[in-house]
């Protein structure tokens, strides 16, 4: 604990140590290295110190001390984020809320669960299952990601098409404020009623990437487990026909619980990784969940099967039992680690586009990838139009990361050009900060900055992420202009 060299920070660290004794305050690279990055490990930074919070009291104390000593604070949960939003700052404190991992209350009658921010997403559903309930948003990282991070990023998942993203499934949150004159106060945003007086501050905190407050408790809405689920897998011989089938399903008046797509590279990677039972000959597959009332689900199954064959599916299979269904979904959810085995490094993007532009964007992505001599696998939430091109690269090659970043920028900017957004569920963090200058005007970005200044006037919470400075915007726009 004595390796912290920066003498000007000794008083700060001493004060922190009185709140975070022993191994709950980590300094020095050998101790902090597990916390140097989130799940986008190309962006790493050793922090001044890492503090492990065990209670709301710890979080309040950390925020107050950071304010007192003028040290910026980055909060993080399980560190499964994909936009470097939880990357530490060299002269900042990394506050980890993962140890706050208790389910405080589960009310099956009111269908709510009150949990600490470090509770793992899937643990809520596990705890709710005996009551016939579950927590609907299910990011692919649901076995590892924490609910505090889910709120901070407004996380999505494969079943968000029908059940909504995090903000639709949270009733209230306790948040530590950094507002002038109120630093370290705990606010309750939202509440047990379905409507609240005042502004929708709970919605504002969702997706604010730890920049407007630190979350210390979340009350989530639970959903009754569907009575019946059908899972379909459809194989296609081209990416374009699979993409067009996605629009056709929606046009037919069906909103599936999940509607996912994988391309050939993603299929082969996953099949090799966990033998999900995918057709290796297919150029693309769609995985579809239909759930709800048994009679409704049966009626929708007939509609979707018919639409799929009319849309040119080569083969349509219906999962015969829960085991097969679980296997198909396990493949989808393991796509990232599966691709990770094929490539030393990978980089996942998150652009979201109108559904009818998916095919076009995938074709453009393939063209851009060729230009930069990189391989891209696609596995994504097709029903939401939320693409996840995964760029495979070898970071040990001298210019590989640079080419990857340029390819990612081109894909995101193409998404903007077809009426989409640079991020559907992963957040901006550091990774997409330049593209904010493309998606938004100066007035819009200045409005974001004004919101940040209003609630975090001392720039204490996760500063310099998510919203680019004016100078950075001008620099990036000039660079783009020069590139033509």
């Amino acid at each position: 604990m004595t390796q912290c060299e920066d003498s000007s920070m000794q008083a700060f660290l001493a004060a922190l140590r009185s709140v975070f004794p022993g191994e709950r305050l980590l300094c020095g690279r050998e101790n902090t290295s597990p916390f140097e990055c989130d799940a986008l490990p190309v962006y790493c930074q050793e922090p001044l110190a890492v503090a492990l919070a065990h209670s709301e009291h710890d979080v309040v104390a950390a925020v107050r001390l950071c304010h007192e000593f003028g040290v910026p604070l980055v909060s993080r949960g399980a560190g499964t984020g994909l936009s470097a939003g939880a990357k530490p700052l060299a002269q900042g404190l990394l506050l980890v809320t993962a140890p706050m991992n208790r389910i405080l209350d589960l009310d099956p009658h009111a269908m709510t669960a009150r949990v600490q921010p470090g509770v793992i997403n899937q643990q809520i559903s596990t705890a709710a299952a005996p009551h016939g309930l579950y927590y609907a948003p299910d990011p692919s990282s649901q076995i590892a990601c924490s609910i505090g991070g889910n709120v901070a990023e407004n996380a999505g998942g494969v079943h968000c098409l029908k059940y909504g993203v995090t903000v639709q499934n949270v009733l209230s949150a306790r948040v530590v404020s950094a507002a002038a004159g109120h630093v370290g106060e705990v606010l309750t945003l939202g509440g047990d009623c379905l409507s609240q007086p005042g502004y929708d501050l709970l919605a504002l905190v969702h997706g604010s990437e730890g920049g407007l407050g630190v979350i210390t408790e979340v009350t989530v809405k639970l959903t009754p487990l569907p009575e019946k689920t059908h899972t379909l897998m459809a194989d296609f011989d081209s990416v374009r026909t699979a993409a067009d089938a996605v629009s056709a399903i929606v046009r037919a008046g069906v909103i599936p619980a999940a509607l996912e797509m994988m391309d050939k590279l993603a299929i082969s990677a996953t099949e090799a990784f966990c033998h999900a039972g995918y057709n290796l000959e297919a150029a693309a597959i769609l995985l579809i969940d239909l759930d709800g009332h048994p009679l409704e689900v049966d009626a929708e199954l007939a509609v979707v099967e018919q639409v799929l064959s009319a849309s040119g599916a080569v083969q349509v299979q219906l999962a015969t039992d829960t085991l097969q269904r679980a296997r198909w979904w396990k493949g989808r959810k393991s796509a990232f680690p599966a691709i990770g085995r094929l490539s030393p490094d990978y980089y996942c993007i998150d652009g979201t586009v109108p559904r009818h532009r998916i095919g076009e964007v995938l074709e453009a992505t393939a063209r851009f990838a060729d230009q930069y001599r990189l391989r891209v696998a696609n596995v994504f939430h097709a029903g939401d139009g939320n693409l996840h091109p995964i760029i495979m690269f070898d970071g040990s090659e001298p210019d590989a990361l640079e080419r990857t970043e340029k390819l990612a920028a081109d894909i995101l900017e193409y998404c903007i050009s077809v009426g989409g957004t640079i991020t559907g569920e992963h957040g901006v963090g550091i990774e997409k900060i330049n593209q904010m200058a493309v998606q938004f005007t100066d007035a819009e970005l200045e409005q974001f900055r004004a919101i940040k200044r209003a609630l975090d006037p001392f720039q204490l919470l996760n500063p310099d992420k998510q919203i680019p400075t004016l100078a950075r915007c001008q620099e990036y726009r000039a660079l783009r202009h020069a590139r033509g």
Binding site: G184, G253, G292, G419
Partner: protein, 375 residues
Amino acid sequence: MDEIINPSKDQDYSERLAAQVRECYSANMGLEAAEIPRPHLVVGGNGSRVALGLPGDATLAIGAHRGVIDYQPEELTLRARAGTPLSELEALLIEHNQSFAAEIPQPCATSTLGGAIASGWDGPSRAFGMALRDSLLGCRLINGRGEIVNFGGQVMKNVAGYDLARLQVGALGTLGAILDVTLRLQPRTEHMASVSFEVPRDELGRWWRRTRELRPLLTGTCYLDGRLHLRISGRAVAVQDLITQLGGDTADFDWASLANLQLPFFCGERLACVHLPRYAQIPVRAGQALIEWEGARVWVRDGDHHALAREAADLGGFVQVLRGPVISVQADAPEWHRALRDALDPQGLFNPVLFRSRFYSSADPSGRLGQGVGH
């Protein structure tokens, strides 16, 4: 201002409205901080939601700024100008066998889309389906500097930047003048049926336990005059099956009039809406209450608003008054309300009276009213 405003024709008045805001902004620039009254703007539409808190006579009138900007049925999204009447949009959606994803009340035929967002009022399906705030994908607005800014988008998911679109829902126009709105749509429900039961008041609690089992087909509950009405919607085959299982009386119930607050029940001299945590019960006289949302929204006619407010607060709820003695409710985090208002509208141009009465009570200049628990 040489162009004549034709309120029945699709028109884009964005620039004119923004110029009016900039003019007001400039007029405020030269004034001393303490000088009152200051020039301000009353942002409003066609005045059909006065009971819900929106202004009647607007000086920044959005009603003529109307028309559909983009509607792509297969995208399940609709973008339209704020002054467009909801009734027109609904008619358009029906042509394509679609509906809004949230149930949006329309107090009258001229009620606008922008007013729906500004009032943030939800219909009977809120407890079972999508809230209005969650069906909003994006909105373009004029901020307090007279700049036109766009937040959110036209895609299903979007987390780029802060969610300043959702923040407009229920803000009563105090955080900007909404110019256009993108909403999420859904395929039109294939079949809807009502069923009702004679239920004594003290057995309602037991019914709310039972209604959980009726999801996802249950899309509305209304308890009125000793009868519990249930709305069942979905695929025809499933709805009919459930109705048969339930038994009860299959007489029609006017859910639209409930949503639009047009049932005779809502005609009292005093009308209050009590929001409660799910399954809480508030004591009210028989015949005086209409209960929705499995008990989470209770309408009280000709009640004692102050007594109601105390009882609701004890149960963790609050009261919103539509007619009669006003109860002011200060939300948690008043300092956040004031700071956000300053960030979006630094001169306080938009609906300043509403801001003070509904969002931030200036009676306590320290801004420390009702704040959360400190440590």
